[in-house]
């Protein structure tokens, strides 16, 4: 180990830089990375196999749990494929609602990423700010779907919850707050010198390399590739709204940050357009339990990039094969390339910059709970109040701060 002056550092399977168990073996010469070895698969839970043994409706919920952040992406992608095989034409309102949730999810994912990126370069203030603002969109999601993370809003043939007229105002108000905050973050990203120092020129991925390695999502767009499934292969209600495909020529982590931040602004505009045009009508139509024989490939622009599901049916109520290709799997190859000749200090941010989601990548098995079969329905608002009361009992009272924050935001 000491002969050549090279040190081998294991990053993972457990490491504070990684939010999920994956292993990177880094060979260092001084502070420079000379070799990089990825080993993934620690999160493999056999979801694809499990899908074959469940009915389509069960699969919708199973697939939703492939990933904790882009859960709507996976369920929509799966449902789209099934609907295509069954030849179901969705009611317009259902399409709109799906798209609204999809964009809200993108907002929450990008804000989450911004915070994580800040943390990876040691800028914890950004983490705290971004995640505080993320609560706005989390609350909106909870308001519209009843859940903060796994929304459970998709079903085959539509969506399970309608958007109430009185909630639309809430959503629009949230969008205004977030738009103002996002503009502030764009200012921070463009003005804060240590942040720019840490982000620019790091994790270079040229246009040619991005094409060659098949990068997707913001990673590809930051290398100047105009690749966005929402635009190229419109699904749900994306053909009825106008938005820009954000690209950037920086080809580095800084570019990826800018792309994500500017995409946020597009998200707000898309949601406003959709809410304005939201058509009346039913939100779901009856879908057959048995899906006729056939196959379909469905694509979806998840916050991290193109998500691809291949579904093949055999005429029964269970699918024959479900293949999930999450965006991280397409981008992980680019990471090794980006890390060539970079510093150890850049490793966390370069890995984080593709917004990796290894749960997605490895897929999984669902846990069956044996005991908790409680049928209690707890309203979200009650749960929230309970939480606040509990924390107050523990000595942390946020009410004064919240009031102050609300006042600041009104101003």
């Amino acid at each position: 180990m000491h002969d050549s002056g090279d040190i081998k550092i294991p990053i993972g399977p457990q490491h504070p830089a990684l939010k999920e168990p994956e292993s990177f073996l880094v060979t260092l010469h001084g502070e420079k990375i000379t070799a990089f070895n990825v080993k993934i698969g620690y999160n493999h839970r056999g979801i694809e196999k499990a899908c074959e043994e469940r009915t389509y409706i069960q699969d919708v919920y199973l697939v939703e749990r492939v990933c904790g952040i882009c859960s709507h992406s996976h369920s929509t992608c799966f449902v789209q494929a099934v609907e295509e095989i069954a030849g179901i034409e969705l009611p317009a309102r259902a399409k709109y609602i799906r798209t609204i949730i999809a964009e809200l999810e993108r907002i929450h994912s990008h804000l989450l990423w911004l915070g994580v990126a800040g943390h990876e370069v040691g800028f914890d203030t950004l983490l705290m700010y971004a995640w505080r603002d993320r609560e706005v969109v989390m609350d909106i999601l909870a308001l519209l779907t009843g859940n903060r993370v796994n929304y459970g809003i998709n079903t085959i043939g539509g969506v399970r919850r309608d958007i109430k007229t009185e909630n639309i105002q809430e959503v629009l108000k949230g969008m205004d707050i977030l738009e103002e905050r996002t503009k502030y973050y764009i200012g921070v990203a463009q003005g804060e010198s240590t942040l720019i120092k840490r982000l620019s020129g790091v994790g270079k991925l040229s246009y040619e390399d991005a094409v060659r390695l098949g990068a997707v999502g913001p990673t590809a767009r930051a290398s100047g590739i105009e690749r966005d499934v929402r635009h190229d292969d419109p699904y749900a209600a994306y053909s009825e709204v106008t938005f820009k495909v954000i690209t950037d020529k920086h080809c580095d982590v800084y570019g990826r940050t800018v792309v994500r931040l500017k995409e946020l602004l597009e998200c707000y505009s898309i949601i406003r357009q959709l809410l304005k045009k939201l058509p009346e009508g039913p939100v779901t139509i009856k879908a057959p339990r048995k899906i006729p024989q056939g196959e379909a490939v469905s694509r979806y622009e998840a916050p991290r990039g193109e998500d691809l599901h291949y579904v093949r049916s055999n005429g029964t109520e269970k699918p024959d094969r479900v293949k999930i290709r999450p965006p991280t799997l397409a981008n992980i190859q680019a990471v090794s390339h980006m890390l060539q000749d970079s510093y150890l200090a850049d490793l966390p941010i370069v890995i984080a910059a593709i917004d990796p989601c290894f749960s997605c990548t490895d897929r999984m098995v669902a846990l069956k709970s044996q005991h908790s079969r409680k049928k209690d329905v707890v309203l979200w608002e009650k749960l929230r109040l309970d939480g606040i009361a509990w924390h107050r009992k523990q000595g942390s009272d946020f009410s004064a701060l919240n009031k102050k924050l609300a006042k600041n935001l009104e101003r």
Binding site: G41, R325, L329, A334
Partner: protein, 169 residues
Amino acid sequence: MTQEEKIKQELSENFPFLKDAIIIKRERRIFLDVAIEQCSEVFDYLVKNMQFNKLSAITGLDEGDSLAVIYHLSRDGATLFNLRTRLSRDNPSINSVTPYFSSADIYERELMDLLGIKVIGLPEGHRYPLADDWPKDDFPLRKDWKSKENTPGHKGLASTRSAQEGQNA
């Protein structure tokens, strides 16, 4: 003529035997079944002459009598070309496409691990996605796969629980 029909026409001109095999499922979705012998040739043409510059995924299937591999190729304008080829169940093997797409590496490892398809020309590396102690000749995505005695985690929670109960008693 739509983009999809153009692709169909160009391919049929170069590979007359494919004429009826190309199916345009819908806008931007083309399916094609080719025999294993012609697979490499068609793949090569698609990538080199028809700008299919992105390998979106490789899907492995167990179709009962045979195994199948689908290459999901895409290009700008989002046309997705699904090239399927069938392999015999007894000795499934296929050429690696890593010379074209280095990103195919991980998808091909999945084929090896989950379906037991041999990929010729794939460089050495870690296995993915199964655990290192997973038996070498056990392919969980095959339809006839059953959890066996030596499958890691086979006994699962049940055995742990009974062991604990034994300790308590």
